[in-house]
């Protein structure tokens, strides 16, 4: 499934950049960026503006994966969370560099750029965002 050439040259810049967009009609922020705002629909067409996001947010929910997919087997147990970014959008990502038991709902986090998975030992490496407990967070 992963060897298709098109998938590589049609990469997904938002995985590396936290580049979302904002609807200039209602000011809602989206990540990943949308072609149109689902609330304003036709009013938003052509009026979606790119916006970089801070990568800072808060844990809304989480799990600790003990049985992982093949590409993640070496990482178990690893926490995965739904994070609400400060600008509004919610995303799913791993929480790293902490004890899985320390992850809590409400914990402040910030993004970090990491390797996500790899096709075998000599295949393409996929990069993207993961999250760290915020340095200035006491939670």
């Amino acid at each position: 499934m992963k060897e298709g050439v098109a998938r590589f040259w049609r990469e997904i810049p938002q995985r590396y950049n936290f580049l979302g967009n904002v609807c200039s009609s209602c000011d809602r922020v989206f990540f990943p960026p949308r072609e149109a705002c689902p609330f304003c629909r036709r009013k938003s067409m052509g009026k979606m503006k790119e916006q970089y996001l801070s990568g800072h947010g808060e844990v809304i929910s989480y799990t600790v994966i003990h049985v992982g997919p093949e590409d993640f087997e070496e990482q178990v147990p690893y926490p995965v969370a739904i994070i609400q970014l400060d600008e509004g959008p919610r995303i799913t990502g791993q929480i790293v560099d902490c004890d899985p038991d320390d992850v809590k709902i409400g914990m402040k986090v910030e993004s970090t750029f990491r390797k996500i998975q790899q096709d075998g030992c000599s295949g393409a490496i996929y990069y993207g965002y993961k999250f760290l407990k915020s340095h200035n967070s006491n939670k």
């Binding site: 993640f72 147990p77 995303i91 799913t92 990502g93 996500i116 993207g128």
Partner: protein, 388 residues
């Protein structure tokens, strides 16, 4: 719209059926339904088949025509259509069959659902199920399908004080029901301790909070109600069919622990049938994970939001409770061959309403509900069935 009745049902045993093929399973379920209905192949106007991922599980797409062929209908050239909506594929196939008769287009339709999941290994099966989630924005980052439901559970526990014990009670109840169902994958009761002590899959969900990987098929025959008397005296009418959608990714939803698609599909169904949850006697709900049953009974309006865990703990949803849920054993114990599940739920509801549910019969069951979910709640289909 015309009234639509279920006039025949058929099921295969659910389980790890190493000696049975995709083709054998669907042919068995279909022929049982046809015999049960007392119709012949030539009476059938159309066929709908629900299958989530025959391509990945048995390396075969184009299964609409294939199912018609293995059922012996090739020479009849009936329209045969495959329907896909992840784990809700079966329920959607039932709805397509229902709509095609209600619209007046067809008089008799056969609906099937199938998945043959054990022909690939456990890892491949799990990864195929994960395609029901958002591959680019959830699975890519390491979220597994149990992991996504686990995040629903964590949030539910945080907001409503639901406990791992509450979740475990769902599994214990459904295994107790499965023990009364000769078609179930698991037919033995389990203890609360064994659920709580099982290997962790994705905290807070352990192995016994998860439905199994299953092979199996289910089938029903639908008929325009005014023509159904010719075939059966025990008429069961589909009083309503509701369907709704939501974002594929859990993180895109309004609320992490409410399946809005269930809320909308069920409200659509209640309105159509002109009933409220109080008028329903029992339900087959989509318990792919224990937390899913707790959310289902809340989002269907059977109990108040947040009270699902308590309701299960109090025994309201047991076979002898005031609102029996998953009398068949549910996905948890009966098994979850994903494409078959939505059809098998309608089979169970029909058996209950005909009074043919054997040891797990709900006394005086007059109206039941079938609730089928795709992914973590991006698709939901709800049917209400009534004894006529």
């Amino acid at each position: 719209m015309r009234d639509v009745a279920v006039i025949g049902v058929g099921l295969t045993k659910f389980g790890e059926l190493w000696d049975r093929s995709f083709r054998q399973l669907i042919a068995e379920a279909g022929s049982k339904a046809i015999l049960d209905a007392g119709i012949e192949g030539k009476d059938i106007d159309a066929l709908y088949i629900g299958s989530m991922s025959s391509g990945r599980f048995v390396d075969q797409e184009h299964v609409g025509a294939l199912v018609a062929e293995v059922s012996g209908f090739s020479h009849l050239h009936i329209p045969a259509t495959r329907v896909e909506g992840a784990c809700a594929s079966g329920g959607l196939a039932v709805r397509e069959g229902f709509l095609s008769i209600a619209s007046g287009m067809n008089d008799i339709v056969i609906v099937g659902g199938i998945e043959k999941m054990n022909d690939v290994g456990g890892t491949a099966a799990t990864e195929t199920l994960a395609t029901a989630a958002d591959q680019e924005w959830e699975a890519f980052f390491g979220a597994t399908f149990p992991g996504i439901y686990a995040m629903i559970a964590t949030r539910h526990m945080h907001e409503y004080g639901t406990t791992r014990e509450d979740l475990a009670h769902v599994a214990v109840k459904n295994h107790a029901n499965g023990a009364l169902n000769p078609y179930a994958q698991y037919q033995s009761p389990i203890s609360l301790e064994s659920v709580l002590r099982a290997t962790m899959v994705a905290y807070p969900l352990g192995l016994m909070d998860c439905s199994p990987v299953s092979d199996g098929a289910a089938s029903i025959v639908l008929c325009a109600a005014d023509k159904a008397k010719k075939y059966t005296d025990k008429l069961v009418r589909i009083a309503a069919s509701g369907q709704a959608s939501d974002t594929l990714a859990l993180h895109g939803r309004r609320d992490i622990c409410t399946l809005d698609a269930t809320v909308h599909a069920s409200r659509m169904a209640y309105k159509q049938a002109k009933v409220t949850p109080k008028d329903i006697d029992f339900a087959e709900v989509h318990d792919c994970f224990t937390i899913a049953e707790i959310c289902a009974i809340e989002d269907l309006g059977i109990v108040e939001k947040g009270q699902g865990g308590k309701a299960v703990q109090q025994g309201i949803t047991t076979l002898n409770g005031s609102f029996p849920v998953n009398t068949s054993g549910g996905l948890k114990a009966k098994g979850h061959p994903v494409g078959a599940t939505g059809v098998a739920q309608v089979v169970e509801a029909t058996l209950q309403l005909r009074g043919d549910a054997g040891k797990r019969q709900v006394p005086d069951a007059k109206r039941g509900m079938a609730h089928n979910v795709g992914g973590s709640g991006a698709t939901c289909v709800v049917h209400i069935l009534e004894a006529m």
